[in-house]
Symmetry: D3
Subunit: 138 residues, 6 copies
């Protein structure tokens, strides 16, 4: 059976601040520069979730994209959209909310919830110029 990669794109608007509480203020500013602004800043994050699987004969689908969309919206978007990622999101507590760490935690959430296909990649566009992708590799 042919294996297809299915991608769903979602957008959310959130704020964050990059800060490592184990480091001094000087070290944080050295490391994170304007991303360490005490009052935070924000982005329209663009999220692309890709799953892979076989085409089902009955539907011609790998997965029903409506259902994949609903999982992403319930498990991720409803928890991060119009939120502050340092303060308002349980699964990001005690993490420095860099794009890398956000993607890593999104993967942890989604891999247990997406059961009809295999999670293949999560991409997060922080700006139109900065993009992070995780493919499940350790």
């Amino acid at each position: 059976m042919p294996k297809m990669y299915i991608t769903r794109r979602e957008v959310f608007s959130a704020s964050h601040r990059l800060w490592n509480s184990d480091l001094s203020e000087e070290q944080n500013i050295e490391l994170f520069d304007k991303c360490a602004n005490p009052n935070g800043h924000g982005h329209n994050f663009v999220l692309e979730v890709t799953v892979v699987g076989d085409i089902k004969n009955e539907s011609g689908y790998v997965v029903d994209l409506k259902k994949l969309k609903n999982i992403i919206r319930e498990e991720i978007i409803s928890k991060v959209d119009h939120k502050h990622l340092n303060h308002d999101v349980d699964f990001l507590k005690d993490k420095i909310p860099t794009a890398e760490n956000i993607v890593r935690e999104f993967w942890r959430v989604l891999e247990t919830k997406i059961t009809k296909a295999k999670l293949s990649s999560i991409r997060l566009h922080e700006t139109e110029n900065n993009i992070v992708e995780y493919r499940g590799e350790e």
Copy 2:
């Protein structure tokens, strides 16, 4: 020799209806929801065809993109643009025209026509949020 991946992007406007004639109307609506609308609906499909091969010394090209473009336009775009995918396209007859099945059939058509490089991936954007990719894996 360095191996390069060359992508050509094309756009076509077509309509389709998702319907499995082996299932009841209730089952089709359960499965395909608004995509089962009897009169169909449509999209500006964005197609990305990627081939891979070595750079030729004489030209500095892997393939002449004009020729790749012409193959895609003759074999695919001329047959699906401004068409109804359920009724007007020979190589989609008797298929449920989901993005997955469309990509699979595009691959069948193109892999025999593209001879100067190896077909590596076909991506089809059905909307700006829904994308399907096939990389030739079974």
Copy 3:
């Protein structure tokens, strides 16, 4: 008070066929070419609705974009998304569904429903290269 122009963008996927039943088949093909394909074709139409009004002191808004979005979705998107514009849409019955006529009828629908600000412009992108705009001018 400063006058602000507020634009909401929505996308819908629909099919249509350009055909004037007062003309012969030859005349229709001469006029509409591949857009006259008997089984129709489709697009991801991108709709931009712009209203103009004063900023309210209490909210800092001209209009609440959530409410404007809801009006557009209820009055327009729910009626045209995943539909065939020639057959499934009451307010387009007996119109040739060119982008021009679609925009004209969208204006008729929306100008009576948007009451908190003045309708200023409706733009409809049929493809990434073809765009029609109406500004209420006769």
Copy 4:
């Protein structure tokens, strides 16, 4: 002399919270919904500044876009990028930082700084679906 409209596009990443301190918490939530989240949220704001003027014979320019870019970056971007619009920006103090009010204050700042051409329009994209424009009309 022909009059030309020249647009410079810039992007900045900022957070904000919509809140009217003259209203109760219930009224704020009624009015601003998820935009009233106590810890704020953020966007990649896309700013388009348009000026109008005559072409100069010597340069073929209306304005030197490098100079226009520098004014926008010095007067606006350096003050709002990677900032919290409620707390970190002098010219937004005591304003509800809706897109409408942000655009209005940007206009106030820029109209005194851009002297080689006339400010014609400021557009601010808060998301890919929500856009506000001011053209200097009262």
Copy 5:
């Protein structure tokens, strides 16, 4: 009759050099900076041509966009695409090919060739951040 604005978007790839032969080398470098590079540089210019007119009852069109596209391609694109704007284009000879001057000359060419509707605006995107528009105003 409702007046509609119809926009056709085209892209062309060209090179140019900004240089005023009445000025010294120092003055040119002061004025045009890196745009005065002796060997030139280039862009994918994005052109948007907007015409305005009444909807025709017979077709539901203001203009047949295929015909508008053909005029733009014959009169403009075929003459500037894959060309050097300083050396290869008759109607730009002896002009400094700034975006402003290019748009002005495109207008001169197109206003005599587009007869079925009124030319309303020509916009030229030199980069994704720099845009020039002419609306026929003196």
Copy 6:
């Protein structure tokens, strides 16, 4: 440790001419068509550089994107932006500046300069429809 792919996008405007000096004029025109125009042509090239590596605990970063950006700008963008790729760029001398060869030489430059993570892919968009990618494979 999770491996993350980090992409930085940059844009540059350059001109080039495709010409193989070992071939006759007829052969060059046969091979390169309008890309062989004697005075050259140009593009807004979009460059995407992807590196891969582990997340560092201290920063939550794989690499500091500001530093990656600075390397790309110093080593690549400052040398190709607003230049003629055939004449003005040391590391492209005696190469036919096809997108394939440009990407190959960018890889040679960057792989010795990026030391904090492994270079994974370089993509170059010559136009919105033509894209070349190199992943370091021979």
